[in-house]
């Protein structure tokens, strides 16, 4: 039995997806190294890149664990996992650590992490499991209770933090998975409206709830040139970084915008700007292609999934990567508002990397087990 699984695991392992995310992660480490290097080559090099390497090793191990166990176990414990995810969100509001006006971090002894990062996976598992168990009647109504549990309650918790990025992601995933399953258009429309309205959700309360920097970001998105050294600063500097890369880029470790601090959040949210500055259009195009392949492969996995739960999870995980990618790249190219969302696999951040690898592990798991027609 074990031997059989092992052989099949190796034979059917999704090397392409694995290779693509390893490529992205290595590009990430290399770019983090450049982005965080001390200006003018003087001073100590901050250890962001080495931390990221450690996290990468942990993440790869987690990925293999996720591949090793059949994903049917996720289905079995889906609600418990989702419940745990909600619990984490509540916990962070109570015991979380505040940083830059947002309460997103939870500390467990020496280790601190962002519960949102794990919640998003649990959300996909939970919702996929729920939708998979429903009958396939497209006209079937989704109960109000479900909408509250899978949409309104977590949304409220995320906005309270506030974590706009994960909130946007959650709404997007809810809609994508609902469409994918074929829930009635009425429910989808309602949730979409709730999602759109959730920005000015409860009117002025939201605007009041927005932290100062979020207001600035929204205003800056409307017109980045209003005050180039003020709120539009981030957007303009990001554009300058990318544009100044030209066709071939300034060369590795030759970018200036990041190390000289013109670019904000250079190794996290704006890492693509650092990459594009040094690698130019050629490098940027290559990166876009890697992502394109990853997304299309994810959809292909969804098509080949052996069951409804696997299919929905593959769609959800692919959609999650895609939404992050779109919001992040769109933000650095200033075609979308500045929302603090990292570029999956590339941006610095241990929890995010780990969570993305776990998600990718599930995706590979689904593809690897596509031929298993019967549960053993």
């Amino acid at each position: 039995m074990n031997v059989k699984i092992d052989r099949r695991l190796i034979k059917n392992f999704d090397w392409l997806t694995f290779g693509l995310i390893i490529c992205l992660s290595l590009i990430g480490v290399i770019t983090i190294y450049s982005a965080t290097r001390p200006p003018a080559g003087v001073g100590e090099h901050p250890d962001f890149y080495s931390k990221q390497i450690i996290w990468l090793v942990i993440s790869m191990a987690s990925l293999f664990i996720m591949v090793f166990f059949d994903y049917k176990w996720l289905d079995r414990y889906a609600y418990q996992l989702y419940g745990a995810g909600l619990f984490l969100l509540v916990a962070v509001l109570i015991a979380g650590r505040s940083s830059m006006g947002a309460k997103r971090w939870l500390s467990i002894g020496f280790f601190s992490f962002q519960p949102s990062e794990f919640f998003r996976i649990m959300f996909i598992i939970g919702l996929s499991s729920y939708l998979a168990r429903r009958n396939n009647d497209p006209g079937a109504q989704m109960s109000a209770k479900t909408v509250v549990i899978f949409a309104l309650f977590p949304l409220a918790l995320l906005i309270k933090q506030p974590d706009l990025g994960t909130a946007i992601l959650m709404i997007s995933l809810f809609i994508v998975l609902s469409i994918s399953k074929g829930v009635s258009k009425k429910v989808i429309t309602v949730v979409l409206l709730i999602g759109i309205v959730s920005v000015p959700f409860l009117g002025h309360i939201f605007w009041e709830g927005l932290k100062g920097y979020q207001k600035d970001r929204l205003v800056a998105f409307m017109d980045p040139d209003v005050d180039p050294s003020g709120i539009g600063y981030h957007i303009n500097q990001s554009k300058i970084s990318i544009g100044s890369g030209g066709i071939l880029g300034k060369g590795y470790l030759k970018g200036t915008q990041g190390p000289l601090r013109f670019l904000p959040e250079k190794h996290t949210d704006f890492i693509f700007a650092v990459y594009a500055e040094e690698r130019g259009f050629v490098g940027s195009f290559l990166l876009m292609c890697i992502y394109l392949l990853l997304f299309l492969r994810g959809l292909d996995t969804a098509c080949r999934a052996k069951d409804e739960f696997g299919r929905l999870m593959a769609v959800g995980i692919t959609a999650m990567f895609f939404v992050y990618y779109c919001v992040n790249i769109g933000m650095t190219l200033s075609v979308m508002p500045v929302v603090g969302i990292p570029l999956p696999f590339v941006s610095y951040g241990g929890t995010a990397l780990l969570s993305n690898f776990i998600a990718a592990g599930i995706l590979i798991n689904i593809r690897t087990r596509r031929f298993e027609l019967f549960y053993p």
């Binding site: 890369g245 259009f281 098509c303």
Partner: protein
């Protein structure tokens, strides 16, 4: 159904992919150069390093100015937002409103550091250096300031440095100057600004987003400005300022053989040091509102009737035109009557029969009325203008020089629509009436006359220039008048005896310009006449010619002549002690008491 939905998903993914690639193409390929330039201007700063300014020397090699280090506190524009301005104002000991005003000026560049406090003392520098870590972006900048070693002495010649005025900022000549650049704004500092200025150096540095300097990319050292050696002798200037005491006036001394300006003093003067370190507003106002008008260069900008000093010109015309017989005396009965008017001689009761020589020595007005009558105004005009009166000397001090006025019949007809009257000729012959001149014109007249009639352009630079003309006056004429001018200073009864020197024979002529509308008889203050003295020395080979003008000084012989003597001695004792001693005349005995008593009498019009 499912497949269709997934297909739709892949279309969306490809659409976003294409859209992002298009945006990247636009930014990186199409607009790449623009953004490359923007990123370079982000990180590179070009900092001009000031060039040391050339030193100004006097003709003896004495430095008149010195470049001194000058420290100011600046703040980089990027870091202003993060500063607690209240705390900063307190830290620097300045008013918060003043600080805010400086930081929010419209013409502040977003890249050039803004000076917020200037002229720091060493303890202040230490204070700022010690506490600046609390205020990111704050730093001490050093520059070169200008110290004027002789203060007010010669300030009108040397000038001062000042910030660019708004008008100059718009001038293309100064377009690449930083807004706080100090440039010459007066005197030689302004005239020779281009030479003195030097070429600023350039440092191209890399900075981070907070404006902190990270490393030097490229450097071009500054080139010091050219030194300039002036023709002036600071010792004369010092002696003159000392001798004037608190009186207002001017002295111009010229080297007759070259046209070099040996001294040009206008008093009261100002202290250029007040300007060179960024004048405070209240200081500027106090200078502007000073009733004594220290910013007026009286040597070039005040014109008055030259009084009897003008008789040198009338006498020259008389001899050249042959209208008088040197041996023949004219009887002075204390004035002449012309119609219903009386033109008095300054000496009530008259000089009696008096010849040419004594008429100059004693400055007899009656004699020169007669000479004027015989010449006519147009002849007087001819010689006065030949000697440089009635037009600007053209000396370049970048200020509006006044031209004085020499009238003639043509002028009267055009300006006054009246014919010329003989009475006006009488007045003109003794340097009164319409006639007026500036001290520098009178000094130049004296220089041209004393060198035998060679006209030199005036120069403030040591060495002078080539002559530009020759008067063509007979040497005998000049010799005859020179003898009389020696007599003015050295003979008994001469009006200029207070210019008499024990070390050199000085020749000269006194003069008094009437204060118009004055209360005749008032003996002091602003109703007193203006005093003139023009002269030169040594007599046989003139080294220095000068004019002295003392506002409300009273009588030329008493107010202006001693200043002239002091200036001449200050110059000659140092330069030609042997010669000065050799020409020392025998002491001239004479009783001048009678004249002394007369000096403030109502009728004195010498």
């Amino acid at each position: 159904m499912r497949l269709k939905k997934i297909q739709l998903g892949s279309y969306i993914i490809v659409a976003f992919f294409l859209f992002f690639c298009f945006k990247l193409w636009q930014l990186q390929v199409i607009e790449g150069d623009k953004y490359r330039a923007l990123s370079e201007s982000n990180r590179l700063r070009i900092i001009k390093t000031p060039a040391a300014r050339g030193i100004i020397f006097d003709r003896n090699g004495t430095a008149l100015v010195k470049d001194v280090p000058f420290f100011s506190v600046s703040v980089s524009p990027e870091s202003i937002k993060g500063l607690d301005l209240g705390a900063l104002a307190k830290f620097l000991g300045v008013e918060k409103s003043e600080l805010v005003e400086k930081l929010t000026r419209k013409d502040n560049s977003p890249f050039i550091p803004i000076k917020i406090k200037e002229d720091l003392s060493f303890p202040e520098i230490a204070h700022v250096e010690a506490g600046k870590s609390d205020f990111p972006g704050l730093f001490v900048e050093s520059g070169l300031g200008r110290e004027y070693l002789f203060g007010t002495v010669g300030a009108h010649v040397i000038g001062y440095l000042g910030k660019l005025s708004p008008a100059q900022s718009g001038n293309p000549d100064f377009s690449n100057f930083p807004p706080d650049a100090m440039i010459g704004q007066w005197g030689v500092e302004e005239v020779f600004d281009k030479e003195l200025r030097g070429t600023p150096g350039e440092r191209i540095i890399e900075v981070d987003a907070l404006g902190r300097e990270l490393r030097l990319i490229q450097q071009r050292p500054s080139v010091k400005g050219k030194d300039i050696t002036l023709s002036i002798d600071i010792d004369i200037q010092k002696a003159v300022e000392d001798e004037f005491k608190d009186k207002a006036g001017a002295l111009v001394a010229i080297k007759p053989a070259t046209g070099e300006i040996l001294a040009l003093e206008s008093l009261p003067s100002f202290d250029p040091n007040v300007f060179s370190r960024g004048i405070q507003y209240r200081d500027w106002v106090s200078i502007l509102e000073d009733k004594k008008n220290p910013m007026l260069n009286r040597a070039l900008q005040s014109q008055y009737p030259p009084g009897s000093t003008f008789k040198i010109i009338t006498a020259t015309a008389a001899l050249e035109e042959g209208v008088i017989d040197l041996g023949k005396k004219i009887n002075c009965t204390g004035g002449i009557h012309f119609g219903k008017w009386t033109f008095g001689c300054w000496k009530k009761g008259g000089h009696g029969p008096i010849d040419f020589h004594r008429a100059i020595v004693e400055s007899c007005d009656t004699y020169f009325y007669e000479v004027g009558r015989r010449l006519g105004i147009d002849k007087i005009y001819k010689y006065a203008t030949a000697l440089g009166l009635g037009k600007v000397t053209g000396i370049n001090l970048m200020i509006k020089e006044r031209s004085g006025l020499i009238p003639n019949t043509e002028w009267k007809r055009q300006k006054k629509q009246r014919p010329w009257y003989l009475g006006e000729t009488y007045n003109a012959a003794i340097g009164q009436g319409y006639v007026s001149a500036t001290p520098i014109q009178m000094a130049r007249m004296m220089a041209t006359f004393s060198n035998g009639g060679t006209i030199y352009p005036l120069s403030l630079i040591k060495g002078g220039s080539k002559p530009v003309g020759q008067l063509g006056i007979k040497p005998e004429t000049i010799q005859t008048i020179k003898e009389a001018l020696v007599g003015v200073v050295n003979e008994p009864g001469g009006t200029g005896h207070s210019a008499q020197s024990k070390v050199v024979t000085i020749a000269g002529k006194t003069g008094t310009a009437q204060v118009i509308g004055k209360q005749r008889g008032a003996a002091g203050g602003k109703y007193m006449d203006h005093a003139w003295f023009v002269g030169f020395a040594p007599v046989d080979k003139p080294e220095i010619a000068l004019s002295v003008f003392v506002e409300h000084g009273g009588h030329g012989g008493t107010a202006a002549a001693p200043i002239a003597r002091r200036a001449i001695e200050a110059y000659l004792i140092k330069h030609e002690p042997a010669k000065a001693g050799a020409t020392l005349p025998a002491p001239v005995a004479g009783n001048y008491d009678a004249r002394e008593k007369k000096k403030n009498s109502p009728e004195v019009r010498e």
